[in-house]
Amino acid sequence: MKADIRIAWILARGSERREWWRASLTLIGALLATGSALAAVTVAAVSGQVSLPYAHGLLDRPGERAGVVFTLVLLLVPVLGFLGQCARIGAVHRYRRMAGLRLAGASPGQVRRIAAAESAIACLAGSSAGLALFLGLLALTGHTPRPVAWAGLVAVVVAVPVAAALVSALALRHVVAAPLEYARRTVPSAGRRAALGFLIAATSIALSALLLLFPVGRRVTPPVLLVLALVLLTGAGAIWAAGASAAFIGRTLTRRARRPAVLIAASRLAHDPWAAARTHAALLLVTVVAVGFVGVRAVLLDTLTDSARPMSLAFYTTGIDLAGSAVLVALAISACALAVGTAESLATRRRGLAAQAAAGVPHRVLAEAVLLETALPLAPALLLAGLGGTVVYVGYAMIVVTASVPLLPLLVPVAVLVLCLLAAATSLPLLRRAVNPAELRFT
């Protein structure tokens, strides 16, 4: 094991600059994940009716605390997605390196351990930093968690790097099985994972239904399993929808494109529609939630103001704003994942891009193609996501029988699209470097 860690360190030191980007971003992702999980554990460890001097009493009662914990746990979804995206930085290069190690005689176990060590070290640093910051925050607020919470905190700090190591080792299974293929070429991502998610979710729902019908003992909680299964089903469905719509748009536009940039972007979408499916799915889900949230917030505040209960307004706005912050954080994290994915895509094919530029393809066309790769699949999908969110808040408005339905939420999908284009545009300086003729000097 010591030798494996040493090899992992040597490989990391000898790697390109993007390996350090990957480590740094993984560290930040682990820090955010640890922070959310620690907060959830701490709040969950509080029991009974209490009186806490912050959050306008939002954490005082078990019912609201459960809502806060649920929000923090949901926040983990985009954070973990971001962490997964970070792990994909330089994946092609890294997988080839691991395949090379396998071909050089490393055992499957050694390769898995080296890959796991690469991810786990960065995650351990991130989770430790997260713990340090969290303890600092606790000291500032003067709050001392219950002893049971400490066990949870330690478990979180250990679980984050362990999970990262397991995911890294699992991701290498194809490399371990067929190293020669990876050493020679890249394998486009497929939609099989979305199908697997569907299968797991469907099985979980069926299991939940069975447990509801035939309860076994008192410890089984089918509703929790059902909620998790529904979340998984929604995620897998969103990924499948994002990938399938990207494939459809890509194929359609490839046939009809008249402009070079559109043709390049559409062909890339048609060739590998699943490449950005997870990130796009996260953005779509966040958009549905954001549109729904902005609409529900407006309707709720309207209703509360009308009911003339100013004493309780701060309590409600604190809760709403906490949920709003979570939506904003989720949106920011999803946009970051999109930026990271776009940059990674450019870094992977920089030699080909340099050859294109050398052959006379204008930089403007290549830059336009990069932005179109984001805009073409996302624009119609965000429109649909906006409609989904609108149904949520209009439905809510109908339930509470409010006089007016707000129109502001309709701007949210537009704002998200602009944010996505800005996120993709952050990789344009990298494109300028990628098309540098110096890239042609290296094979």
Partner: protein, 246 residues
């Protein structure tokens, strides 16, 4: 291998001329005062060992990189003085570039790859594809028109790349080790196609190679050694290797 055709007369006008080119990458001097003339319709081979500066010379002559010192003149224009936009325009219209690999867009079909320079020039997709199809036919890869680069053999990809380089009717083709990644048979097919088309259309070719057999397709050969051009001979690469070993 094809037999050599008559060389252009010495009076043929220089299409591209380079004088005193110097280019460094960090502490590595890739070019150390290289001078060269490429005439109209001429096929010129630049031979030499790996790392001798051949590719850098091609990059300077085609305006892909600017030399640190020296002058490259094409059609009365000094490439070093042209803005980046004009250089890109030249590479799209007057120059065709073929590399060892990597120049095809992996997601596009062979047909769309060849049509791309025409689309960039503003041609509509239908006529562009029709013209591209004719060029694929000429290079014997019409049957691969709907395949992507990853689905073709190396030789087929290289012939598609040649079609792409020639589709706009350039005056010069810069070919950097065009057969470097191919076996002997595929290499011969690619070179035969390139030389035949260049002769037919009176296109000048600057051929970078470290392979004496490939260099033999050219009208004239020069040898690059340590960033300097020397006059050629029948076995330029062999002599160069012998010189290095000696």
């Amino acid at each position: 291998m094809s037999t050599r055709e008559p060389r252009p007369s010495p009076e043929s006008s220089a299409l591209i001329s380079a004088h005193g080119l110097r280019k460094s990458y960090g502490r590595t001097e890739a070019l150390r005062g290289a001078s060269l003339e490429l005439r109209e319709g001429e096929i010129l081979a630049v031979a030499g060992a790996s790392g001798s500066g051949k590719s850098t010379l091609l990059h300077c002559l085609s305006g892909i990189v600017r030399p640190d010192e020296g002058v490259v003149t094409y059609g009365g224009e000094q490439l070093g003085l042209l803005p980046e936009g004009r250089l890109g325009e030249l590479r799209r219209s007057d120059f065709g570039v073929v590399f060892q690999f990597g120049q095809l867009i992996p997601e596009l079909t062979a047909l769309d790859n060849v049509a791309m320079p025409l689309l960039l020039a503003g041609m509509r997709r239908g006529p562009a594809q029709q013209q591209a199809g004719e060029w694929l036919e000429r290079f014997g890869v019409r049957g691969q028109a709907e395949l992507r680069p990853g689905e073709m053999s190396g030789g087929q990809s290289q012939r598609v790349a040649l079609a792409r380089a020639l589709v706009t009717g350039p005056r010069v083709v810069f070919a950097d080790e065009p057969t470097g990644a191919l076996d002997t048979l595929a290499g011969e097919q690619v070179m035969t196609a390139l030389v035949h088309t260049a002769r037919e259309s009176a296109t000048a070719v600057l051929l970078i190679t470290h392979d004496a057999q490939v260099a033999a397709y050219a009208d004239r050969e020069v040898v690059m050694s340590d960033g300097v051009l020397r006059s050629g001979s029948d076995d330029v690469v062999g002599q160069e290797a012998a010189r290095r070993e000696g």
